[in-house]
């Protein structure tokens, strides 16, 4: 399928979603957060086999988290970014690990770094960080330099060398 | 008595020193295949001295005992092997059956020692080593049986005497298939690739040695050195005509050792059950064929 046809199909089924074309091999779909599982399973059905990555963006000024599901199709050679925004205060969204098994690890990762809850995904043990007590580090209001200086210390540079 | 003690000490020291020397030369040799230089040939001596200078950790007395037993087992076996013209007990002259029996003591001691350390990697390693032993003992014993029949004696000395008079008389020429089987078994005995599944660093982190430190590793090193000397010595006596000259004897051993090193340099390791299967197939078949030829 051409990119145009895919977009038409998405528009047909999900009229509320906004589509933005980046170039002939890549486009993004912005969907409502309640639609996300439906749209992703629809995408899987029309031939987007690979879930390349799930990532999140912290739009702190808007008080929103943006979740980006990155899909790829070997049949259409198309890269799709399916995006949705959720509230920053109580970040919660449906898990998609039933569609792709790899989503489990990506969601665990996003949970660890952004503190987003995925309902339906139970294994949320910390994977990367050791004994983490602060707020999730990838949030924009977490100051990494301050943290580092506080706990790991740094040399004071001498004035005259 | 003192005389025997001195002779015993001589045998033990010769085996350790020559073994360490062989190891050093072997490292230089394999480095050549790998296109580099490696350390000096006396590197193994430095390593051993260093290991004995280190602090070592013992988990319990069983570990101490096991490691010592492994070392002592190999050294004790040396007693029965003719080193060129030299024999610790002139009347025993190296009964091959006893040698095979004693050699297992070394492994058992090692097994006891490292199992006491409680590291699962070591346990897996020693289990593999013992299984592998089952593998290479079969073809080796077959070749031994062949030679015992051929010489009507189980004494290595007798075998050596029977091979005098030019290399055409060597058992290696007379019984080439058996010799091949014995070489493959030797590869397994020395634990070189492709039969090094028991120490395999990338699988079980060097297996039995995983918990050995300092002195214990030093003893392990010495045991390995003595083992190289012993096992190459047995094959030299059995197939390559031994020698009445120390230097020729050592040279034959070294040649044999370098052969195993060269093979280990160009082959990866077998899975250990594949290795056992292989031992029961190829070398056993070779030895059996030789035996059948001999019987016919």
């Amino acid at each position: 399928m051409e990119q145009r046809e895919i977009i038409l199909k998405i528009k047909e089924n999900f009229s509320k979603s906004e589509v933005k074309v980046f170039d002939e091999k890549q486009f993004s779909v912005f969907a409502d957060k309640d639609d996300i599982v439906r749209i992703l399973s629809f995408m899987q059905m029309i031939g987007f086999q690979q879930l390349a990555i799930i990532s999140a963006v912290d739009w702190i000024d808007e008080k929103k988290f943006e979740l980006v599901y990155n899909l790829f199709s070997y049949t259409h050679i198309q890269q799709v970014l399916v995006k949705t925004k959720i509230e920053r205060d109580n970040p919660k969204i449906q898990s998609v690990m039933n569609l792709w098994e790899v989503a489990q690890m990506y969601e665990r990762d996003v949970h660890e770094f952004f503190g987003i809850e995925f309902s339906g995904n139970d294994d949320m043990r910390p994977l990367i960080l050791h004994n983490w007590k602060d707020k999730p580090p990838m949030r924009k209001d977490f100051d990494s330099l301050k943290y580092s200086n506080e706990i790991y210390g740094t040399f004071k540079k001498s004035e005259e060398v | 008595m003192v005389n025997i003690m001195l002779r015993f000490l001589f045998a033990a020291f010769t085996s350790i020193i020559m073994g360490l020397l062989f190891m050093g030369i072997g490292r230089k040799f394999i480095a050549r295949i790998r296109r580099h230089y490696a350390g000096p040939f006396y590197q193994s001596f430095i390593d051993v001295i260093k290991l004995f200078s280190k602090k070592s950790i013992s988990h319990n007395w069983i570990m101490d005992f096991g490691v010592m037993m492994g070392f002592a087992g190999i050294i004790a076996t040396i007693i029965f092997m003719p080193i060129g013209p030299f024999n610790v007990f002139s009347q025993m002259q190296g009964n091959i059956i006893i040698i095979i029996y004693f050699m297992t003591i070394g492994y058992l001691g090692m097994a006891m020692g490292v199992a006491a350390s409680g590291n699962p990697n070591a346990t897996i390693g020693i289990a593999r080593a013992l299984t592998l032993m089952l593998g290479y003992e079969i073809p080796f014993v077959l070749t031994v049986i062949l030679l015992v029949f051929a010489n009507n004696s189980s004494l290595l000395q007798v075998m050596v005497v029977n091979q005098q008079g030019g290399f055409m008389e060597w058992n290696a020429i007379r019984y080439p298939f058996a010799f091949l089987a014995a070489l493959i078994a030797l590869q397994g005995m020395l634990g070189e690739q492709p039969f090094d599944a028991m120490i395999a660093p990338s699988e079980i982190a060097s297996g039995p040695m995983v918990e050995l430190s300092g002195k214990f590793l030093g003893f392990g090193f010495l045991q390995h050195a003595a083992q190289i000397f012993l096992e190459t010595g047995i094959i030299v006596n059995m197939f390559l005509g031994g020698s009445q000259n120390f230097f020729i004897f050592f040279a034959k051993q070294l040649a044999l050792y370098l052969l195993t090193v060269a093979v280990s340099g160009i082959f990866p390791r077998y899975r250990f059950e594949d290795a056992v299967k292989f031992f029961w197939m190829a070398p056993t078949a070779l030895a059996a064929i030789q035996l059948i030829i001999f019987i016919i």
Binding site: G153, F155, K156, K157, S158, E159, E160, V161 | F29, A31, R32, I33, R34, R35, H36, Y37, A262, G265, I266, F267
Partner: protein
């Protein structure tokens, strides 16, 4: 190739290397020999840093680009002061350095480079108390770049590969043909895109700030322009400069001479950027942008005599401090040299008025057509006001005093320029010119004269015949290079290195030409102005009108004698004491009469006198 083909012989072939030499590089004994002409590491290896301390200007770009924060600028005691440079030099923390070489690629002075030396190991000292192990060993890795490593050069960055944008954004200027027919402003100014692109060239080194007489926050306002935040930019500009429209056009831009980008390429067009910033913000918005804090009034009155740049500057800053200001201006409008000295094609009235209108809007009272000493007595002012600032400037033309210079066809530059200005403003119908004009002088004013004359000739006769003669040779000419080039484009003929001898006058008493001679040297050993001429080498230049533009002089006739006697003068300028006071009570001085003619200096001086005054009055 069939990979299922198993062959025992395949691996065995590897045994051939038993008979080959190993490929090992036995390092401490031998080095690898891969590169032509170099043993060891590569000819452009990124090893430890080395820095030419003399060449370095301490701009700090290396510190800004360093991704690891490894570079810190530290003041070096053994570095000599030099103009356009600070005494700070980079010190590198090898506990952070990642050897990316970005510092070298952005180095503005091409002094920083990397060597091929890479070995540095240090053993933690035995006696170091483990409690502060870190600090004790820090000296082992926080180091100055090693100067001896220059003998082993590695990564360095010629201009070609520099990351800096070395080419200036070209400024739209009218074509010579077009511009010489009118007095319309010839520099078009930057568009938004152009300004942003020019502003991004800045590395924010701050050397310009040092060079600028008023120490404007140049990096800050350029940064604001880059961020497209005009209001912030204007705010930054007005912190120190009350006449940005003027400065954005006719400043002598010492900042651009100091600009560190200029070491490798074209300096930033700081002046044009300033002009862009203030041009883009309409006057109506000034108040809301600039006057955030209410001015706390001080119940004191200050008189400013002379509405030139210094006077306006002093008035601006004093009124921000809350003083009540009155400016006494002899002419019809304030502006002084800015209005009557600078031709309209460089500084149009609209721009000047914008600046002045804003100052007026602060509540400054301006009394025009009030010449002190004529319309009002100096002593009256002195008694009525709490303080008086003199900023009358250099308002008299200086004559060459050669024979014939008093004749009718010889005019003074300021008179000529002021007439021209009036003509451009359509106040008078015509300026008296002839077909052959000769201008004497090599400063900016002289060029203003010759270019104005060229325009007038073009408008009147349709062709240009202006010759300019100056003492200095081209390399030491005091005027801007742009002036020289542009005047040549407009058809002005420049004769360098010759001094006037006498004005030739014909039988009717009209000017016929100028007799000039070669000038051997302009300055003596002490760098004082003391020209030496070669009288033998003579030539005659024909002209029917001569404009003298060799400098200006002050006029102190309005000051009452009792005040004058308390003040000190040297070479025509007023000498101030260490508190920036003149010596006479209540009398302060600013501008050309203190510093010599220059608009930026005058503005700076206005601020300085305002501060001195405030200090005294608010004690």
């Amino acid at each position: 190739m069939n990979y299922k083909k198993k062959s025992l012989l395949g691996p065995l072939s590897s045994l051939k290397y038993l008979f080959h030499d190993p490929i090992t590089v036995r390092y401490p004994k031998e080095q690898k020999k891969t590169y032509p002409e170099h043993e060891g590491c590569s000819p452009q290896y990124r090893g430890q840093h080395t820095n030419d301390l003399e060449k370095c200007v301490g701009c700090g770009s290396c510190m800004d680009i360093c991704p690891t924060g490894a570079i810190e600028m530290v003041e070096f005691n053994d570095v000599k002061d030099k103009p356009g440079a600070t005494r700070k030099r980079p010190v590198i923390d090898y506990g952070r350095c990642c050897f990316c070489g970005f510092c070298v690629d952005v180095c503005t002075s091409s002094s920083l480079s990397m060597s091929r030396e890479y070995i540095h190991t240090f053993i933690t000292p035995l006696n170091a108390d483990s409690r502060d192990a870190g600090d004790l060993i820090s000296n082992d890795f926080v180091r100055r770049p090693d100067l001896s490593l220059t003998e082993n050069p590695g990564w360095n960055t010629p201009d070609e590969w520099s990351w800096l944008s070395l080419d200036r954004m070209v400024m739209g200027v009218m074509e010579p043909k077009e511009r010489k027919t009118s007095f319309v402003e010839m520099v078009r100014g930057y568009s938004k895109e152009e300004a942003v692109r020019e502003a991004q060239r800045c590395v924010a080194c701050g050397l310009c700030k040092e060079a600028c007489p008023i120490h404007m926050d140049i990096p800050e306002y350029i940064d604001a322009i880059w961020k497209d935040d005009i209001e912030e930019s204007v705010k930054q500009i007005y912190k120190t400069n009350p006449l940005p429209e003027v400065c954005g056009r006719v400043c002598t831009h010492k900042c651009e001479t100091a600009c560190s980008i200029g070491l490798r390429g074209d300096p930033l067009a700081i002046r044009w950027l300033k002009r862009y910033a203030v041009d883009s913000l309409p006057l109506e918005k000034y108040k809301s942008v600039l006057l955030n804090n209410a001015i706390k009034p001080v119940n004191k009155r200050v008189a400013v005599i002379g509405g030139g740049p210094a006077g306006l500057s002093a008035a601006f800053f004093l009124s921000l401090m809350g003083y009540k200001i009155t400016i006494f201006e002899a002419d019809e409008k304030v502006g002084g040299i800015m209005r009557y000295g600078i031709p309209a094609y460089r500084l149009p009235d609209s721009a000047l008025d914008k600046d002045i209108d804003f100052i007026k809007s602060l509540g400054v009272e301006i009394k025009t057509n009030t010449r002190v000493g004529k319309e009002i007595e100096f002593n009256k002012i002195k008694s009525e006001y709490d303080a008086v600032i003199l900023s009358t400037g250099f308002n008299l033309g200086r004559s060459t005093r050669i024979p014939g210079s008093q004749s009718k066809g010889v005019v003074q530059a300021l008179d000529f320029l002021s007439d021209t200005r009036d003509f451009a403003a359509k106040k008078i119908k015509e300026v008296e010119i002839t077909e052959k004009i000769l201008v004497i002088g090599g400063g900016n004013v002289a060029f203003d004269c010759s270019r104005s004359a060229a325009r007038l000739q073009m408008m009147k006769f349709g062709k240009v015949n202006v010759t300019q003669i100056c003492l200095e040779t081209l390399d030491i000419i005091p005027a801007d290079k742009a002036e020289v080039d542009e005047s040549a484009e407009e058809g002005v003929v420049l004769i360098c290195g010759r001094g006037p001898k006498q004005v030739m006058i014909d039988e009717n008493g009209k000017v016929k030409g100028l007799d000039h001679m070669k000038c051997n040297s302009v300055f003596d050993e002490n760098m004082n102005f003391n020209p030496k001429f070669n009288e033998e080498d003579k030539a005659i230049c024909e002209a029917t009108m001569i404009i003298e533009a060799i400098g200006q002089a002050p006029d102190y006739s309005y000051i009452s004698d009792d005040v004058k006697s308390k003040m000190k003068f040297e070479r025509g300028k007023i000498v101030l004491d260490k508190n920036n006071e003149t010596g006479a009570e209540k009398i302060y001085a600013a501008g050309d009469i203190v510093k010599g003619p220059d608009i930026v200096n005058a503005i700076a001086d206005g601020l300085r006198s305002a501060i001195a005054l405030d200090k005294k009055l608010n004690k």
